[in-house]
Subunit: 221 residues, 2 copies
DNA sequence: TAGCTAACGTACTAGTTCGTACATTAGTGT
DNA sequence: ACACTAATGTACGAACTAGTACGTTAGCTA
């Protein structure tokens, strides 16, 4: 994240293509996450940067492409978090827990990312489909899961042959829902899933759930 | 759902307040689910009904209140499904499985509901908060979960003292994610979570996950 | 059958919003 | 010092969009 707060140089126009683009992306992320794609206002984004609307079109081409760029950057962040995952030295159970916690922590710390993904789903992922950066590269977490699963299954710790993508979905579902549906869930059931006091409770619950699933005695079928 | 296809009576104007309102709600549900709150067009909704925009304002007051009415009706449907739940005769494990399956089936069969809830979360649940119908009544599923949990814990089948709301969140998370994030997940990982051929697979996975969690040997803490 | 009102239609407007034509300048290479 | 281009700013317009003023009519009731 590039800070928007910097010494404003009055009078003299500063030229910094990289910073200008980063600033637009920062503000656009907030604005899209706040109001959705259609609800976001290009004028509002421009007003909250130190540059003008003209530059948004100059650098990104249009509202649609700007949203795509915002998405690309948001996904880059979580991939980075997953990349930093170092679980080779852990036993499978601990490794899976660690992996789940990384997703848990990332989602909690990046509610804007969650919102952007929700919004992108409303639009049936057309921007991801149109993006060259996204789509191609699959999540680093998947490779990690694959290795841990293999290890766990070989050692007999993990009972069933679970698919890596499915396990990733299971973990993501829990973490995503907690952030994405915070408001409706809170309004309907009077419980704030993001309450800091309950953070460790839900973090443990996720780990317990996944481990229980992986190590349960499976009925022969 | 009221069918929009009916014998159009040319010339003679038909007056039916109930049907007009239902038709507006049907079309509005589709339109809001399609494009989000800001992306939805009141003119488009009007055009796809047999009535006019004037009637939307006549009956609902405005776009915002129309969305609230749409939400209210969508929540009524799932509550009805939960109400029909009859699990008193089942053992706790089967009962929990059945309960999870009802949520699984409902969410799969009502992608528009999922979208509306996602959209409502983007808007921080302001419409639920503003609604008198919603908010007050809590989910019937919760009462069912409470009873099953109590039964399961007394009999020693269920190991830990799990909270009913938390369990509901766990089940909802899985079912909701599968539908809500179908598109981004599919685009990124090349797997369609809604593929009919995989339906039973995921349905079983959900049940296995929840039961494994509930019956796992919990480490003393 | 007269009259009353809920139900409905038409036409319009005020304000918004994405996008662009045109003008300008900072900074770099030579 | 000069010229060239990437980067930037201003001002504007065409299209859209939520909402409404005003007029009409179906159908019930007394």
């Amino acid at each position: 994240m590039t800070s928007v707060e910097e010494p404003a140089r009055p009078g003299g126009r500063i030229r910094d293509a990289v910073r200008t683009q980063a600033e637009i992306l920062d503000v656009a992320t907030q604005e899209f996450a706040r109001a959705g794609f259609a609800g976001a206002r290009v004028d509002e984004i421009a007003a909250r940067t130190r540059t003008t609307k003209r530059m948004i079109y100059y650098y990104f081409g249009g509202k649609e492409q700007l949203f795509t760029a915002v998405l690309e950057r948001a996904y880059a962040v979580i991939r980075e978090a997953e990349q930093g995952l170092d679980v080779e030295h852990l036993d499978p159970v601990a490794a899976i827990r660690r992996l789940a916690e990384v997703t848990f922590d990332h989602h909690e710390q990046h509610p804007d990312f969650i919102r952007l993904v929700s919004i992108e789903n409303i639009h049936e992922a057309v921007h991801i489909a149109a993006s060259e950066k996204l789509g191609k590269i699959s999540s680093p977490a998947l490779d990690v899961i694959r290795r841990i699963l293999e290890q766990g299954q070989k050692s007999g710790l993990f009972t069933a042959d679970v698919d890596a993508v499915d396990l990733h979905a299971m973990i993501s579902a829990f973490c995503f829902f907690r952030v994405a549906n915070r408001h409706t869930f809170g309004a309907l059931f009077g419980r704030d899933l993001i309450d800091p006091a309950q953070r460790e409770h839900y973090r443990a619950m996720l780990g317990d759930m996944v481990i229980a699933y992986l190590t349960a005695e499976r009925a022969a079928d």
